[in-house]
Symmetry: C2
Subunit: 422 residues, 2 copies
């Protein structure tokens, strides 16, 4: 099988070196060979030995090269990448890509073109780096009706929340972000990571394959982690939870909910222990129940591992596994307001007699139970009250928070963080 690689950054360099290094191992498993026939790059990568490989500066040359069976798209971005992939498909080449934004934004168009041409577009590397989560959902759990997928899909955010919660040395968001940038875990512009866009791209892809729905990036409700403060982290810990940057897709009746938000998970759960830059995906199926997949979500070698998995899949001549997924339903996305959840609510209040009674009264009036409560003195005049609510409709809770905010004793807008139940 002859492949052409477009883009030789971190992942491309790892891919080329791994294919060379593991040629024997892959050959043993495959009874075939993966040959790098051409590489397109804008500038040379000194980490990468391209001896003996045909090099071009024109990515589109690879897409048109009649000797190439599979184009590996590693240029990133969405516009050029889309043109490139569509051109390759038009030229009857299979495509393997690590580009989550591309699939999340233009997946439907690309898959439909691929179907017409009878080729396959694979994207294991686009979600959760080296974890074979696409294959697990699409093939390993194929007998299940998937009810929920929840992922820690952004390593930068998970690193930041983990470090903020460090027992040894808790630090505020800004400080940890700077450290993450220094360590290379966060980009110079970290907004896609900490604002949840990156995780949203990924959950849209997982929802597509898990539920058989069209990619619908615009439907994701996105909340980032930049508003999280150390006070909340500490109270969340005291309540027995960890805070994780989650991306969650689930099915209720005929709708699908797609959301990205920081969520609390009970500390006893394995899922809550996934710290640092590590990724994890929890998949719930009707017959298997809960399964969890944990591993490196980024890094050249880990991502290249997933690219190779797709290449081998194609080389084995497997019937196109997305076949059944091209006829994706337009599942409606459901309103946030129709979701029930337990939440953490934090209020800073004047330290005066009767304030707890007024808060409790507002909650009671709205039918919201108090599962657990912590009160701390912030100063002589200010108290901090943190509450774990019963499971309630989010719209009802949000309306109650508005009412609480109007109480004279409440001195800052209430903070709400949802609890993820597994």
């Amino acid at each position: 099988m002859k492949i052409g690689i477009c883009g030789v950054g971190t992942v491309g360099a790892s891919l080329i070196s791994l294919i060379k290094k593991n040629q024997d191992e892959i050959g043993r498993k495959l009874e075939d060979e993966i040959v790098i026939h051409q590489v397109a790059l804008r500038r040379e990568n000194p980490q990468c030995d391209l001896t003996g490989i045909n090099i071009t500066n024109d990515i589109y040359e690879v897409a048109k090269n009649p000797n190439i069976d599979v184009l590996v798209e590693l240029i990133g971005g969405t516009e050029d990448a889309k043109d490139l992939v569509l051109l390759a498909v038009k030229n009857k080449k299979h495509v393997v890509t690590a580009n989550k934004a591309l699939i999340a934004m233009h997946g439907s168009e690309i898959f439909s073109a691929a179907r017409q041409m009878g080729v396959c577009v694979l994207f294991e590397a686009a979600v959760a780096g080296g974890i074979p989560i696409i294959k697990s959902i699409r093939e390993g759990l194929v007998g299940n009706i998937i009810s929920r997928i929840a992922g820690i899909l952004n390593g930068t955010s998970n690193f930041i929340l983990s470090e903020m919660a460090s027992k040894k040395q808790p630090r505020a968001f800004d400080e940890v972000l700077k450290e993450a940038q220094k360590k290379g875990y966060a980009e110079a512009d970290p907004s896609f990571d900490v604002n949840g866009i990156d995780a949203a791209h990924k959950i849209v892809i997982l929802a597509m394959i898990g539920f058989g729905i069209k990619v619908q990036f615009e439907a994701v409700q996105i909340e980032g982690i930049s508003e999280i403060c150390l006070e909340d982290i500490s109270l969340i810990d005291e309540f027995g939870f960890s805070l994780k940057p989650l991306a969650v897709a689930f099915r209720i009746s005929d709708g699908i909910s797609l959301r990205v938000y920081p969520a609390m998970i009970e500390k006893e759960k394995v899922f809550s222990k996934v710290d640092g830059v590590t990724n994890a995906v929890l998949v719930e199926g009707c017959s298997v129940g809960e399964t969890l997949y944990v591993g490196p979500g980024a890094g050249g070698d880990a991502t290249a591992s997933s690219v190779i998995s797709d290449l081998v899949h194609l080389s084995r001549g497997t019937n196109i596994p997305n076949e059944g997924f091209f006829d994706l339903n337009e599942a409606p996305t459901i309103e946030d307001s129709s979701i029930d959840t337990a939440s953490y609510v934090r209020l800073d209040v004047k330290n005066i007699t009767g304030v707890m009674a007024s808060i409790a009264s507002v909650l009671k009036k709205n039918g919201i139970g108090i599962e657990s409560i912590i009160q701390r003195e912030v100063s002589e005049t200010i108290a901090r009250i943190a509450i774990i609510t019963s499971i309630v409709n989010e719209k009802v809770l949000d309306e109650s928070l508005r009412q609480l905010d109007e109480l004279l004793a409440v001195i800052s807008a209430p903070t709400k963080i949802r609890i993820f139940k597994s």
Copy 2:
């Protein structure tokens, strides 16, 4: 695709009901149908609706039925199952089995027969129930040279060790075992589970696909968990570890080590948090690094989920994925004595002056460092000393333990528990 199912116990009943229930979902993904053409059973299972299905009492009839494409072997045991599977293969049928003992004991013979006939024998359900671990290693991580596989593969043992370590109500081995039997987590004869045989069957299978070696059950060094006592559990916890029933396969130089033993894992590791009957498999690959797979290791529905995954795999007409694995090397298994590991050592000693000095002297003489130590008074005359050793050769450690046992002050044979580093 027409299938015949032999054996309608828990898994068989789940499988039949799932195929019926999820017909539409499977059809959507597959653009084909899985039709249950015949079922062979010894006695009727009242949980199972077999209306409209051809029933026989003769399993071999299914293996010879010319209308059947795939035989699903769910009768268990090794002798009849082996005859059945070989007969099906001889009749050019693919086989899907959940039978770990069959694959662990007779895998080489079966795979070689399958290769000759050009059919495929799949066994996702044989290891770790609903976790798609076979597919993940064989396909998802195909680009990796696998260096280590470690699994919590026996739910009964994991349940017992988890309950023994329960903070609320620690209980001794025998008591928890009785509870496990009452809950249906352990068989009336639990020896295969608690003695490590079951886990050994499974690690042999994972090693076969991970390392491309022949199944070699007789090479597994097996230690069960029945000797673990509450004193050790408590000290292990104090040292900051959890105790897990592990099955470990790893590669050093040209050899493979295959072992089953209770092992300590640092509490910060996600792997250490997998409690109860849940299974988990840690896979280390050269490019992906560490990935972890967690889920239900048993149960009808979870196991049936894996059987369906294999059926869909066959139905998609995938090139036989074991192809490359039939030419399995005879990798030599290495001697335990060539393995280096840190360990926990517990000694009950006479509470007399100088005893610690004699112990330390024996260890020092053998080049064994003391990383951490806890001393507890058991009675006025007896002290308990627990030590975490440096990483040392196991043979050296075992010899040191023999020397310690000879000290006059040491009143019972030293206990050794290995630490699993990840």
